[in-house]
Symmetry: C2
Subunit: 349 residues, 2 copies
């Protein structure tokens, strides 16, 4: 077969595949209805059962179809249903959005001792913005949060992106936000937790953090069934209020293929007393993966994994808001180094 002939055949096969199903239905339809006949100028098209298609199935007896009589993936002619996760990459964060909950699936950042010392961004110059990259019908709206009773809670914190105004602005998109309880959580314990993460840069030259929402079940005291219950805000109600938030921390030793100290934490979206030990919220990474449906360490060799809270003391330092703001302007206060405390087995928690 010449190259030219081969190309013609290949082209014809592709075209036939695209319209063969329709052709079959077209002829049936004419038998069953009073529709006008199809234009006769078009050449007759082969049907799906014509012998020129190779069969993906064995011929398993007389009467058994050698070609599937249906084509479920033909749905995609009307568009792929999704879910689409709206990956967003910016200089200061990379995130994935959930169009059902209208919260991020996760929002990832990277901080270093250097990045936190550069201060060219000021949150007073940033404004909360809707994310135009997400289709309007799936987008979180500013109006949805208005008077909802919840803070627009940054997942990647603004204070981690003050190395440029543009970087900080990127954290103010609603695709980086979840509805968070304000007093006692977003403005308090959660903020102390974010401080803790920043202080890790005094011990590790590179820290990656992934933050996101969870919707966890609890046992109903009345019928003893496990149930997920969460509020939905907005007009109409469309933005889920997470029951919990997670952070997974990757504290890197800075060497190529070096060690990564991991800590996974799950906190309730609720007031948390300042004296609650942070380590009470530590969970095994696998438990977080099961709960979130995500995978965080799939490509990280077991031999490179260390346990963050065995290397440093996982505890928050409580500061009032004004004092916290001052800290942002000065070198970070490091977390205390852990002594020879017996190792905690994460899976026993």
């Amino acid at each position: 077969m010449s190259k030219f002939t081969f190309a013609l055949v290949a082209g014809a096969s592709a075209a036939v595949g695209a319209v063969a199903t329709a052709a079959v239905f077209g002829s049936r339809r004419q038998q069953e209805s009073n529709l006008p006949p199809a234009p006769t100028s078009a050449p007759p098209l082969p049907t799906r059962t014509s012998p020129q298609y190779p069969s993906p199935f064995p011929q398993d007896g007389p009467g058994h179809p050698s070609i599937p009589p249906v084509d479920p993936s033909g749905l995609f002619q009307y568009g792929f249903p999704g879910p689409i996760s709206d990956l967003r990459t910016t200089p200061s964060l990379t995130s994935s959005f959930n169009r059902t909950t209208r919260n991020p699936n996760w929002s990832a950042e990277h901080i270093t001792p250097l990045s936190l010392t550069i201060s060219h961004g000021d949150r007073r110059h940033s404004v909360f913005t809707e994310d135009p990259s997400i289709p309007v019908k799936f987008r979180a709206k500013l109006a949805d949060y208005f008077r909802s009773g919840y803070d627009r809670g940054h997942q990647v914190p603004a204070a981690d992106a003050k190395w440029s105004q543009e970087a900080m602005d990127a954290t103010f998109a609603l695709s980086n936000m979840c509805p968070q309880v304000g007093e006692g959580f977003n403005r308090d314990y959660w903020a102390h937790f974010e401080d803790f993460v920043r202080r890790l840069t005094s011990f590790y030259p590179s820290v990656r953090v992934v933050t996101g929402p969870l919707y966890l079940p609890k046992r109903d005291p009345v019928d003893s069934k496990w149930k997920v219950t969460y509020e939905v805000i907005g007009h109409p109600p469309n933005i889920a209020v997470p029951t919990h938030f997670y952070k997974i921390i990757y504290a890197e030793d800075g060497k190529v293929g070096g060690n990564v100290s991991l800590g996974a934490f799950v906190l309730p979206n609720d007031r948390i007393p300042n004296d609650k030990p942070l380590q009470d919220f530590e969970v095994p990474v696998e438990a977080l993966e099961r709960a979130s449906g995500l995978e965080f360490v799939g490509l990280l060799d077991e031999r490179r994994r260390k346990k963050l809270c065995q290397e440093i003391s996982c505890s928050v330092i409580v500061k009032q808001y004004a004092e916290r703001q001052k800290t942002f302007q000065t070198p970070n206060q490091p977390p205390p180094v852990k002594g020879q405390v017996p190792a905690t087995t994460l899976t026993q928690r």
Copy 2:
């Protein structure tokens, strides 16, 4: 520049990009810790701030970083978090799985007058199976459904895939199942609804259906807030029990680029009286898209869209189980053709 030189430069740039961050941290780490120095046999690596990288940012003044000091997407060296939607294509269904709820996102099928008359599959020869294509930690398990009080409810019905045993078997994977209320729903009204869909093939030469779960909010009578509440079954609790199910029906006229009669329905996962009109459950397609976070008609031209329930009577025929089984063996009873009933505006429902 010769082709050879260019290739060398391109290769070197890519390699440098991959390890530059680590190199920076490596040198910092050595200043800050007592780690042994890096092997001296490796050539010195440029840092991220070396001038050979083109800057994506304008130089906006002294001290402002021309290169972002961080790399949020560097997270992906540890694996992409997901979500992964586990697209599954089989001869009888194409589906997408949700690793958080451990239910499908959607399950799509295609039926025709021909496909429903072929009867080479028997559900007595099919068994419910876990889906080995889904990682164990995200997979729905047979044990999770055991004694849960819920049916393993097919999204693409087994009876729509009796054209081959293999096709029918594919519908028995747990990735095509949701926990469904049995009596009064899965075994009754929902089954009548599935019958309705099959009967459409007497009027349309090709019918596509997408079926899936929803988790819809309702107003809490105590505090008037909108809340989503759903049960979670399994050991540990991990499979969501949907509050509702949807079907979107594409009844095709069989012509290339022809008309598609659309019907979208949302039914509660609950006992439904047999005398409840099916049309009470019809919803605008856009409402279903907003609720599910999915898009069903993105590529379907508005001019091709017709309204299914204006063309045929959208109503179920109640049959007892034995009678229903008998129907599967005989030609379908078509739904009644609608007379000149005034058109209903879907968006007013």
